[in-house]
Protein backbone atom coordinates (compact mmCIF):
# COMPACT_ATOMS: atom_id res chain seq x y z
CA UNK A 1 0.00 0.00 0.00
CA UNK A 2 2.88 2.35 0.79
CA UNK A 3 4.72 3.37 -2.30
CA UNK A 4 7.66 5.24 -0.95
CA UNK A 5 9.77 3.42 1.55
CA UNK A 6 12.99 5.35 1.40
CA UNK A 7 14.94 6.27 4.51
CA UNK A 8 13.54 9.37 6.15
CA UNK A 9 15.29 11.81 8.47
CA UNK A 10 11.98 13.08 9.79
CA UNK A 11 10.18 11.23 12.56
CA UNK A 12 7.06 11.30 10.46
CA UNK A 13 6.01 7.75 11.10
CA UNK A 14 5.15 8.15 14.72
CA UNK A 15 3.39 11.46 14.92
CA UNK A 16 -0.30 11.91 15.42
CA UNK A 17 -0.78 13.16 11.88
CA UNK A 18 0.17 9.77 10.53
CA UNK A 19 -2.61 8.17 12.46
CA UNK A 20 -5.07 10.96 11.89
CA UNK A 21 -4.76 11.93 8.25
CA UNK A 22 -5.63 8.52 6.76
CA UNK A 23 -8.89 8.40 8.69
CA UNK A 24 -9.81 11.85 7.64
CA UNK A 25 -9.00 11.12 4.01
CA UNK A 26 -10.95 7.88 4.42
CA UNK A 27 -14.01 9.81 5.57
CA UNK A 28 -13.61 12.29 2.74
CA UNK A 29 -13.28 9.51 0.21
CA UNK A 30 -16.24 7.70 1.73
CA UNK A 31 -18.45 10.76 1.53
CA UNK A 32 -17.18 11.59 -1.95
CA UNK A 33 -17.82 8.05 -3.10
CA UNK A 34 -21.34 8.04 -1.68
CA UNK A 35 -22.07 11.45 -3.17
CA UNK A 36 -20.54 10.53 -6.52
CA UNK A 37 -22.43 7.25 -6.61
CA UNK A 38 -25.56 9.22 -5.79
CA UNK A 39 -24.82 11.59 -8.65
CA UNK A 40 -24.24 8.76 -11.12
CA UNK A 41 -27.25 6.69 -10.08
CA UNK A 42 -29.46 9.75 -9.98
CA UNK A 43 -28.10 10.77 -13.36
CA UNK A 44 -29.06 7.40 -14.81
CA UNK A 45 -32.50 7.46 -13.24
CA UNK A 46 -33.12 10.99 -14.38
CA UNK A 47 -32.09 10.13 -17.89
CA UNK A 48 -34.52 7.22 -18.00
CA UNK A 49 -37.34 9.22 -16.45
CA UNK A 50 -36.53 12.00 -18.81
CA UNK A 51 -36.88 9.67 -21.77
CA UNK A 52 -40.27 8.62 -20.39
CA UNK A 53 -41.35 12.16 -19.81
CA UNK A 54 -40.17 13.54 -23.09
CA UNK A 55 -41.31 11.92 -26.27
CA UNK A 56 -45.07 11.61 -26.35
CA UNK A 57 -47.70 12.89 -23.99
CA UNK A 58 -51.43 12.49 -23.93
CA UNK A 59 -54.01 15.18 -23.27
CA UNK A 60 -57.60 14.21 -22.49
CA UNK A 61 -60.47 16.54 -23.25
CA UNK A 62 -63.67 15.68 -21.38
CA UNK A 63 -66.91 15.87 -23.39
CA UNK A 64 -68.70 19.19 -23.02
CA UNK A 65 -72.09 18.98 -21.33
CA UNK A 66 -75.35 19.49 -23.28
CA UNK A 67 -77.23 17.41 -25.86
CA UNK A 68 -75.36 14.97 -28.03
CA UNK A 69 -74.89 17.15 -31.13
CA UNK A 70 -74.13 20.32 -29.24
CA UNK A 71 -71.74 18.50 -27.01
CA UNK A 72 -69.92 16.95 -29.90
CA UNK A 73 -69.39 20.27 -31.63
CA UNK A 74 -68.26 22.03 -28.50
CA UNK A 75 -65.94 19.20 -27.54
CA UNK A 76 -64.37 19.38 -31.00
CA UNK A 77 -63.88 23.11 -30.51
CA UNK A 78 -62.19 22.46 -27.22
CA UNK A 79 -59.91 19.86 -28.74
CA UNK A 80 -58.96 22.31 -31.47
CA UNK A 81 -58.23 24.99 -28.89
CA UNK A 82 -56.09 22.57 -26.92
CA UNK A 83 -54.19 21.50 -30.05
CA UNK A 84 -53.59 25.15 -30.97
CA UNK A 85 -52.36 25.88 -27.47
CA UNK A 86 -50.09 22.86 -27.50
CA UNK A 87 -48.66 23.62 -30.91
CA UNK A 88 -47.78 27.12 -29.78
CA UNK A 89 -45.97 25.84 -26.72
CA UNK A 90 -42.18 25.94 -27.16
CA UNK A 91 -40.72 22.47 -27.22
CA UNK A 92 -43.85 20.78 -28.49
CA UNK A 93 -43.06 19.23 -31.85
CA UNK A 94 -46.52 18.11 -32.86
CA UNK A 95 -50.03 17.70 -31.44
CA UNK A 96 -52.96 16.06 -33.16
CA UNK A 97 -56.26 14.72 -31.94
CA UNK A 98 -57.03 11.06 -32.12
CA UNK A 99 -60.32 10.18 -33.85
CA UNK A 100 -63.19 8.56 -32.02
CA UNK A 101 -62.63 5.06 -33.40
CA UNK A 102 -59.06 5.05 -32.11
CA UNK A 103 -60.21 6.45 -28.78
CA UNK A 104 -62.76 3.70 -28.45
CA UNK A 105 -60.09 1.17 -29.20
CA UNK A 106 -58.05 2.62 -26.41
CA UNK A 107 -61.02 2.49 -24.10
CA UNK A 108 -61.95 -1.06 -24.99
CA UNK A 109 -60.10 -2.76 -22.18
CA UNK A 110 -61.89 -0.44 -19.79
CA UNK A 111 -65.37 -0.45 -21.07
CA UNK A 112 -65.61 -3.79 -22.78
CA UNK A 113 -67.63 -3.99 -26.00
CA UNK A 114 -67.45 -0.49 -27.45
CA UNK A 115 -70.00 -0.78 -30.25
CA UNK A 116 -72.61 0.56 -27.83
CA UNK A 117 -70.49 3.59 -27.01
CA UNK A 118 -70.25 4.75 -30.60
CA UNK A 119 -72.74 7.54 -30.05
CA UNK A 120 -71.84 8.45 -26.51
CA UNK A 121 -70.09 11.65 -25.60
CA UNK A 122 -66.61 10.33 -24.85
CA UNK A 123 -63.46 12.17 -23.82
CA UNK A 124 -61.21 12.88 -26.77
CA UNK A 125 -57.48 12.35 -26.72
CA UNK A 126 -54.67 14.43 -28.18
CA UNK A 127 -51.31 12.90 -28.98
CA UNK A 128 -48.44 15.33 -28.25
CA UNK A 129 -44.84 14.89 -29.27
CA UNK A 130 -42.34 17.07 -27.43
CA UNK A 131 -38.69 17.77 -28.21
CA UNK A 132 -36.74 15.46 -25.87
CA UNK A 133 -33.71 17.75 -26.00
CA UNK A 134 -35.68 20.67 -24.57
CA UNK A 135 -37.10 20.58 -21.11
CA UNK A 136 -40.80 21.38 -21.27
CA UNK A 137 -42.33 22.52 -18.02
CA UNK A 138 -45.18 20.05 -17.94
CA UNK A 139 -46.45 21.47 -14.71
CA UNK A 140 -46.93 24.89 -16.25
CA UNK A 141 -48.36 23.37 -19.41
CA UNK A 142 -50.86 21.41 -17.36
CA UNK A 143 -51.93 24.56 -15.52
CA UNK A 144 -52.30 26.55 -18.74
CA UNK A 145 -54.32 23.79 -20.37
CA UNK A 146 -56.66 23.50 -17.44
CA UNK A 147 -57.12 27.24 -17.32
CA UNK A 148 -57.67 27.94 -21.00
CA UNK A 149 -59.46 24.82 -22.22
CA UNK A 150 -62.23 23.57 -19.93
CA UNK A 151 -62.10 19.82 -19.38
CA UNK A 152 -58.57 19.39 -20.75
CA UNK A 153 -56.04 17.54 -18.60
CA UNK A 154 -52.48 16.53 -19.22
CA UNK A 155 -51.66 12.94 -18.39
CA UNK A 156 -50.99 13.21 -14.70
CA UNK A 157 -48.42 10.41 -14.32
CA UNK A 158 -45.98 12.18 -16.55
CA UNK A 159 -46.38 15.50 -14.81
CA UNK A 160 -45.39 13.65 -11.69
CA UNK A 161 -42.35 12.20 -13.34
CA UNK A 162 -41.34 15.60 -14.60
CA UNK A 163 -41.52 16.99 -11.09
CA UNK A 164 -39.43 14.12 -9.83
CA UNK A 165 -36.83 14.78 -12.49
CA UNK A 166 -36.57 18.36 -11.36
CA UNK A 167 -36.27 17.47 -7.70
CA UNK A 168 -33.68 14.82 -8.51
CA UNK A 169 -31.68 17.30 -10.50
CA UNK A 170 -31.57 19.62 -7.49
CA UNK A 171 -30.40 16.80 -5.27
CA UNK A 172 -27.84 15.88 -7.90
CA UNK A 173 -26.47 19.42 -7.87
CA UNK A 174 -26.30 19.36 -4.08
CA UNK A 175 -24.41 16.07 -4.15
CA UNK A 176 -21.98 17.37 -6.74
CA UNK A 177 -21.30 20.50 -4.74
CA UNK A 178 -20.75 18.33 -1.67
CA UNK A 179 -18.12 16.40 -3.63
CA UNK A 180 -16.43 19.64 -4.64
CA UNK A 181 -16.56 20.95 -1.09
CA UNK A 182 -15.06 17.74 0.22
CA UNK A 183 -12.24 18.05 -2.30
CA UNK A 184 -11.55 21.56 -1.06
CA UNK A 185 -11.65 20.54 2.56
CA UNK A 186 -9.38 17.57 1.89
CA UNK A 187 -6.81 19.95 0.44
CA UNK A 188 -7.22 22.28 3.39
CA UNK A 189 -6.81 19.35 5.74
CA UNK A 190 -3.63 18.23 4.08
CA UNK A 191 -2.32 21.78 4.16
CA UNK A 192 -2.96 22.04 7.85
CA UNK A 193 -1.74 18.55 8.59
CA UNK A 194 1.46 19.43 6.76
CA UNK A 195 1.71 22.71 8.65
CA UNK A 196 1.22 20.88 11.91
CA UNK A 197 3.88 18.45 10.78
CA UNK A 198 6.15 21.37 10.00
CA UNK A 199 5.48 22.82 13.44
CA UNK A 200 6.05 19.52 15.22
CA UNK A 201 9.22 18.90 13.27
CA UNK A 202 10.39 22.49 13.05
CA UNK A 203 13.54 21.73 15.00
CA UNK A 204 14.42 18.80 12.76
CA UNK A 205 13.80 20.85 9.65
CA UNK A 206 15.93 23.69 11.02
CA UNK A 207 18.78 21.32 11.66
CA UNK A 208 18.55 19.69 8.24
CA UNK A 209 18.43 23.15 6.73
CA UNK A 210 21.50 24.28 8.67
CA UNK A 211 23.39 21.13 7.77
CA UNK A 212 22.94 21.99 4.11
CA UNK A 213 19.98 19.90 3.00
CA UNK A 214 18.27 21.14 -0.14
CA UNK A 215 14.67 22.26 0.21
CA UNK A 216 13.60 19.50 -2.14
CA UNK A 217 15.33 16.94 0.09
CA UNK A 218 13.09 17.99 2.97
CA UNK A 219 9.94 18.54 0.92
CA UNK A 220 10.30 15.11 -0.66
CA UNK A 221 9.99 13.43 2.72
CA UNK A 222 6.79 15.25 3.56
CA UNK A 223 5.33 14.75 0.10
CA UNK A 224 6.03 11.03 0.07
CA UNK A 225 4.50 10.62 3.45
CA UNK A 226 1.43 12.61 2.47
CA UNK A 227 1.05 10.43 -0.63
CA UNK A 228 1.27 7.25 1.40
CA UNK A 229 -1.14 8.50 4.02
CA UNK A 230 -3.52 9.87 1.43
CA UNK A 231 -3.51 6.64 -0.54
CA UNK A 232 -4.00 4.54 2.57
CA UNK A 233 -6.88 6.75 3.63
CA UNK A 234 -8.39 6.80 0.16
CA UNK A 235 -8.31 3.04 -0.16
CA UNK A 236 -9.76 2.66 3.31
CA UNK A 237 -12.56 5.07 2.45
CA UNK A 238 -13.28 3.21 -0.75
CA UNK A 239 -13.23 -0.10 1.11
CA UNK A 240 -15.84 1.32 3.49
CA UNK A 241 -17.89 2.92 0.74
CA UNK A 242 -18.14 -0.18 -1.46
CA UNK A 243 -20.17 -2.34 0.98
CA UNK A 244 -22.23 0.67 2.06
CA UNK A 245 -23.15 1.44 -1.53
CA UNK A 246 -23.75 -2.23 -2.21
CA UNK A 247 -26.14 -2.44 0.72
CA UNK A 248 -28.07 0.66 -0.26
CA UNK A 249 -28.27 -0.60 -3.82
CA UNK A 250 -29.48 -3.97 -2.65
CA UNK A 251 -32.05 -2.41 -0.33
CA UNK A 252 -33.25 -0.09 -3.07
CA UNK A 253 -33.59 -2.91 -5.57
CA UNK A 254 -35.44 -5.09 -3.09
CA UNK A 255 -37.83 -2.36 -2.05
CA UNK A 256 -38.51 -0.81 -5.38
CA UNK A 257 -39.20 -3.89 -7.40
CA UNK A 258 -39.97 -2.69 -10.87
CA UNK A 259 -39.85 1.07 -10.34
CA UNK A 260 -36.08 1.48 -10.54
CA UNK A 261 -34.98 -1.72 -12.20
CA UNK A 262 -31.54 -0.38 -13.07
CA UNK A 263 -30.13 1.32 -9.99
CA UNK A 264 -26.59 0.28 -10.94
CA UNK A 265 -23.94 2.79 -11.92
CA UNK A 266 -22.54 3.16 -15.42
CA UNK A 267 -18.95 1.91 -15.76
CA UNK A 268 -17.68 5.48 -15.83
CA UNK A 269 -18.99 5.79 -12.29
CA UNK A 270 -17.11 2.73 -11.14
CA UNK A 271 -13.93 3.99 -12.75
CA UNK A 272 -14.38 7.35 -11.01
CA UNK A 273 -14.77 5.59 -7.67
CA UNK A 274 -11.67 3.48 -8.24
CA UNK A 275 -9.69 6.56 -9.19
CA UNK A 276 -10.78 8.49 -6.05
CA UNK A 277 -8.06 7.16 -3.68
CA UNK A 278 -5.37 8.06 -6.19
CA UNK A 279 -6.80 11.51 -6.58
CA UNK A 280 -6.76 11.86 -2.80
CA UNK A 281 -3.15 10.65 -2.62
CA UNK A 282 -1.96 12.95 -5.39
CA UNK A 283 -3.84 15.88 -3.89
CA UNK A 284 -2.19 15.17 -0.54
CA UNK A 285 1.25 14.85 -2.09
CA UNK A 286 1.11 17.99 -4.16
CA UNK A 287 -0.36 19.98 -1.30
CA UNK A 288 2.29 18.78 1.15
CA UNK A 289 5.13 19.49 -1.23
CA UNK A 290 3.85 22.95 -2.01
CA UNK A 291 3.24 23.77 1.66
CA UNK A 292 6.71 22.64 2.74
CA UNK A 293 8.51 24.45 -0.04
CA UNK A 294 6.65 27.65 0.67
CA UNK A 295 7.41 27.49 4.36
CA UNK A 296 11.08 26.64 3.72
CA UNK A 297 11.45 29.57 1.37
CA UNK A 298 10.78 31.80 4.36
CA UNK A 299 13.82 30.48 6.24
CA UNK A 300 17.09 32.37 6.01
Amino acid sequence: MLFFRRRSDLPLKDDATSRFLPWLVALMTFLSAVSLAGVFVLGGVIERWDRDVSGTLTVQVAPAPGNAVDSEVRTRERVEAAVRLLRSTPGVLSAHSIDKTRTLQLLEPWLGDTALLQDLPLPLLIDVTVDPSKRVDLDALSETLKASVPGATLDDHRVWLSRLVNLSRTVEMLALSVVLMIGGVTSATVIYATRTGLAVHQEVINVLHMIGAQDSYIARQFAERAFNLGLAGGLLGLALAAPALGMVGWAARRLEGGLLPDLSMPWTGWVMLLVLPWIAALLAMVTARFTVLRSLARMP
Binding site: P11, V207, G212
Partner: protein, 229 residues
Protein backbone atom coordinates in the same frame (compact mmCIF):
# COMPACT_ATOMS: atom_id res chain seq x y z
CA UNK B 1 29.87 36.19 -10.04
CA UNK B 2 32.25 38.56 -8.41
CA UNK B 3 35.91 37.59 -8.55
CA UNK B 4 37.58 36.60 -5.32
CA UNK B 5 39.08 39.71 -3.70
CA UNK B 6 42.83 39.94 -3.71
CA UNK B 7 43.63 40.40 -0.04
CA UNK B 8 40.75 38.24 1.14
CA UNK B 9 41.73 35.34 -1.04
CA UNK B 10 43.06 33.31 1.86
CA UNK B 11 40.43 34.49 4.34
CA UNK B 12 37.68 32.01 5.04
CA UNK B 13 35.55 34.57 6.85
CA UNK B 14 35.73 38.35 6.50
CA UNK B 15 33.60 40.82 8.45
CA UNK B 16 33.54 44.39 7.14
CA UNK B 17 31.82 46.97 9.31
CA UNK B 18 29.25 44.43 10.39
CA UNK B 19 26.43 45.46 12.69
CA UNK B 20 23.66 43.25 14.07
CA UNK B 21 20.45 44.01 15.83
CA UNK B 22 17.46 41.74 16.37
CA UNK B 23 14.28 43.43 15.24
CA UNK B 24 14.14 46.87 16.83
CA UNK B 25 16.33 45.88 19.75
CA UNK B 26 19.71 47.38 20.64
CA UNK B 27 22.75 46.78 18.46
CA UNK B 28 24.29 43.52 19.67
CA UNK B 29 27.31 43.87 17.41
CA UNK B 30 28.64 47.07 15.84
CA UNK B 31 31.45 47.95 13.48
CA UNK B 32 32.85 44.46 13.57
CA UNK B 33 35.91 44.01 11.38
CA UNK B 34 38.03 40.92 11.24
CA UNK B 35 39.23 38.22 8.90
CA UNK B 36 39.85 34.60 9.69
CA UNK B 37 42.66 33.25 7.52
CA UNK B 38 42.25 29.74 6.17
CA UNK B 39 43.65 27.21 8.60
CA UNK B 40 43.48 29.50 11.61
CA UNK B 41 42.23 28.56 15.10
CA UNK B 42 40.45 31.18 17.18
CA UNK B 43 38.73 31.29 20.52
CA UNK B 44 35.75 33.57 20.81
CA UNK B 45 35.18 34.92 24.29
CA UNK B 46 32.94 37.39 26.02
CA UNK B 47 30.49 37.60 28.87
CA UNK B 48 27.24 35.75 28.81
CA UNK B 49 25.01 37.70 26.44
CA UNK B 50 27.95 39.48 24.79
CA UNK B 51 27.02 38.17 21.34
CA UNK B 52 29.23 35.14 20.74
CA UNK B 53 26.43 32.91 19.50
CA UNK B 54 25.07 35.80 17.45
CA UNK B 55 28.40 36.27 15.72
CA UNK B 56 28.61 32.59 14.90
CA UNK B 57 25.03 32.69 13.66
CA UNK B 58 26.03 35.39 11.21
CA UNK B 59 28.76 33.17 9.84
CA UNK B 60 26.61 30.07 9.42
CA UNK B 61 23.91 32.08 7.65
CA UNK B 62 21.27 31.70 10.35
CA UNK B 63 21.14 35.46 10.87
CA UNK B 64 21.68 38.34 8.49
CA UNK B 65 23.73 41.38 9.43
CA UNK B 66 21.74 44.59 9.75
CA UNK B 67 24.67 46.46 8.26
CA UNK B 68 28.09 45.79 6.78
CA UNK B 69 29.29 42.92 4.69
CA UNK B 70 30.24 39.35 5.42
CA UNK B 71 32.20 37.14 3.09
CA UNK B 72 32.32 33.41 3.45
CA UNK B 73 34.85 31.54 1.34
CA UNK B 74 35.30 34.72 -0.66
CA UNK B 75 31.61 35.11 -1.46
CA UNK B 76 29.51 38.02 -0.29
CA UNK B 77 26.72 36.24 1.54
CA UNK B 78 24.21 39.05 1.03
CA UNK B 79 24.44 38.43 -2.72
CA UNK B 80 24.28 34.70 -2.47
CA UNK B 81 21.32 33.17 -4.31
CA UNK B 82 19.21 30.97 -2.07
CA UNK B 83 19.86 27.92 -4.19
CA UNK B 84 23.59 28.08 -3.49
CA UNK B 85 23.28 28.26 0.27
CA UNK B 86 23.03 24.52 0.94
CA UNK B 87 26.31 23.90 -0.85
CA UNK B 88 27.99 26.63 1.20
CA UNK B 89 26.47 25.36 4.44
CA UNK B 90 27.91 21.93 3.82
CA UNK B 91 31.39 23.41 3.99
CA UNK B 92 30.65 24.70 7.50
CA UNK B 93 30.36 22.44 10.53
CA UNK B 94 28.49 23.84 13.51
CA UNK B 95 28.33 22.68 17.13
CA UNK B 96 25.25 24.42 18.46
CA UNK B 97 25.21 25.65 22.04
CA UNK B 98 22.02 23.63 22.58
CA UNK B 99 23.22 20.64 20.52
CA UNK B 100 20.13 20.36 18.27
CA UNK B 101 20.33 16.65 17.86
CA UNK B 102 17.44 14.84 16.19
CA UNK B 103 15.78 12.97 19.00
CA UNK B 104 14.33 10.23 16.84
CA UNK B 105 17.62 9.27 15.22
CA UNK B 106 20.36 7.18 16.85
CA UNK B 107 23.70 8.78 17.68
CA UNK B 108 25.06 7.10 14.58
CA UNK B 109 22.33 8.46 12.30
CA UNK B 110 22.68 11.91 13.81
CA UNK B 111 26.35 11.99 13.08
CA UNK B 112 25.80 10.50 9.63
CA UNK B 113 23.36 13.24 8.68
CA UNK B 114 25.86 15.68 7.08
CA UNK B 115 27.30 12.84 5.02
CA UNK B 116 23.90 11.64 3.89
CA UNK B 117 22.62 15.09 3.10
CA UNK B 118 25.72 15.53 0.94
CA UNK B 119 24.94 12.25 -0.78
CA UNK B 120 27.80 10.14 0.59
CA UNK B 121 27.80 6.40 0.03
CA UNK B 122 26.46 4.26 2.85
CA UNK B 123 29.67 2.23 3.02
CA UNK B 124 31.57 5.41 3.79
CA UNK B 125 29.05 6.35 6.45
CA UNK B 126 29.31 2.97 8.14
CA UNK B 127 33.07 3.19 8.16
CA UNK B 128 33.74 6.73 9.41
CA UNK B 129 30.89 7.42 11.81
CA UNK B 130 31.56 4.64 14.38
CA UNK B 131 35.24 5.49 14.26
CA UNK B 132 34.61 9.12 15.16
CA UNK B 133 32.06 8.23 17.83
CA UNK B 134 34.55 6.01 19.60
CA UNK B 135 37.08 8.82 19.42
CA UNK B 136 34.72 10.97 21.52
CA UNK B 137 34.14 8.05 23.89
CA UNK B 138 30.74 6.94 22.70
CA UNK B 139 31.52 3.58 21.12
CA UNK B 140 28.94 1.95 23.36
CA UNK B 141 26.23 4.42 22.40
CA UNK B 142 26.11 4.11 18.61
CA UNK B 143 22.46 3.16 18.60
CA UNK B 144 21.27 5.20 21.57
CA UNK B 145 18.88 8.03 20.84
CA UNK B 146 19.78 11.46 22.20
CA UNK B 147 17.08 11.56 24.90
CA UNK B 148 18.68 8.49 26.47
CA UNK B 149 22.12 10.05 26.49
CA UNK B 150 23.58 12.15 29.29
CA UNK B 151 24.18 15.86 28.72
CA UNK B 152 27.87 15.38 28.08
CA UNK B 153 27.25 12.47 25.75
CA UNK B 154 24.83 14.55 23.72
CA UNK B 155 27.36 17.31 23.47
CA UNK B 156 29.93 14.89 22.10
CA UNK B 157 27.47 13.58 19.51
CA UNK B 158 26.87 17.18 18.45
CA UNK B 159 30.61 17.70 18.07
CA UNK B 160 30.99 14.50 16.09
CA UNK B 161 28.21 15.60 13.76
CA UNK B 162 29.92 18.93 13.20
CA UNK B 163 33.26 17.44 12.26
CA UNK B 164 32.32 14.21 10.48
CA UNK B 165 32.25 15.75 6.99
CA UNK B 166 35.64 17.45 7.51
CA UNK B 167 34.22 20.94 6.97
CA UNK B 168 36.41 23.75 5.75
CA UNK B 169 35.18 25.85 8.65
CA UNK B 170 34.17 24.62 12.08
CA UNK B 171 32.13 26.79 14.43
CA UNK B 172 31.72 25.43 17.95
CA UNK B 173 29.52 27.24 20.45
CA UNK B 174 30.41 26.37 24.04
CA UNK B 175 31.36 22.81 23.08
CA UNK B 176 32.62 21.84 26.51
CA UNK B 177 29.95 23.20 28.82
CA UNK B 178 28.62 19.79 29.75
CA UNK B 179 31.77 17.70 29.99
CA UNK B 180 34.48 17.46 32.60
CA UNK B 181 37.94 18.89 32.08
CA UNK B 182 39.39 15.58 30.97
CA UNK B 183 36.92 15.16 28.12
CA UNK B 184 37.16 18.85 27.32
CA UNK B 185 40.86 18.45 26.68
CA UNK B 186 40.25 15.42 24.51
CA UNK B 187 37.72 17.36 22.44
CA UNK B 188 40.12 20.24 22.04
CA UNK B 189 42.73 17.82 20.73
CA UNK B 190 40.16 16.61 18.22
CA UNK B 191 39.69 20.19 17.05
CA UNK B 192 43.44 20.70 16.83
CA UNK B 193 43.79 17.55 14.78
CA UNK B 194 41.11 18.80 12.42
CA UNK B 195 42.84 22.17 12.29
CA UNK B 196 46.07 20.50 11.30
CA UNK B 197 44.24 18.89 8.37
CA UNK B 198 43.25 22.36 7.17
CA UNK B 199 39.97 23.25 8.83
CA UNK B 200 39.55 26.81 10.04
CA UNK B 201 38.21 26.75 13.58
CA UNK B 202 36.31 29.17 15.83
CA UNK B 203 35.36 28.11 19.33
CA UNK B 204 33.11 30.25 21.51
CA UNK B 205 33.66 29.44 25.16
CA UNK B 206 33.49 30.66 28.75
CA UNK B 207 36.09 28.22 29.89
CA UNK B 208 39.02 30.51 30.72
CA UNK B 209 41.12 27.56 31.88
CA UNK B 210 40.79 25.95 28.47
CA UNK B 211 41.53 29.16 26.56
CA UNK B 212 44.67 29.81 28.53
CA UNK B 213 45.90 26.25 28.16
CA UNK B 214 45.98 26.43 24.36
CA UNK B 215 48.05 28.91 22.48
CA UNK B 216 45.53 30.27 20.02
CA UNK B 217 44.50 33.83 19.20
CA UNK B 218 41.36 35.07 20.83
CA UNK B 219 38.50 37.24 19.57
CA UNK B 220 36.90 38.99 22.48
CA UNK B 221 33.47 40.60 22.34
CA UNK B 222 32.77 43.47 24.68
CA UNK B 223 29.98 45.99 24.37
CA UNK B 224 29.29 44.97 20.81
CA UNK B 225 32.88 45.38 19.63
CA UNK B 226 35.12 42.53 18.64
CA UNK B 227 38.76 42.80 19.54
CA UNK B 228 41.71 40.59 18.86
CA UNK B 229 43.54 39.69 22.06
Amino acid sequence: MRQKGSNQAESVVTFEEVGLRYGRGPEILQDVNFALPAGSFHFLTGMSGAGKSSLLRLIYLAARPSSGRIRLFGQDISRLPRAEMPALRRRVGVVFQDFRLLDHLSALDNVALPLRVAGARESEVQKHVPELLSWVGLSEYLHAKPPTLSGGQQQRVAIARAVIARPDLLLADEPTGNVDDHIAMRLLYLFEELNRLGTTIVIATHNEALVSRFNHPRLHIERGRVERV
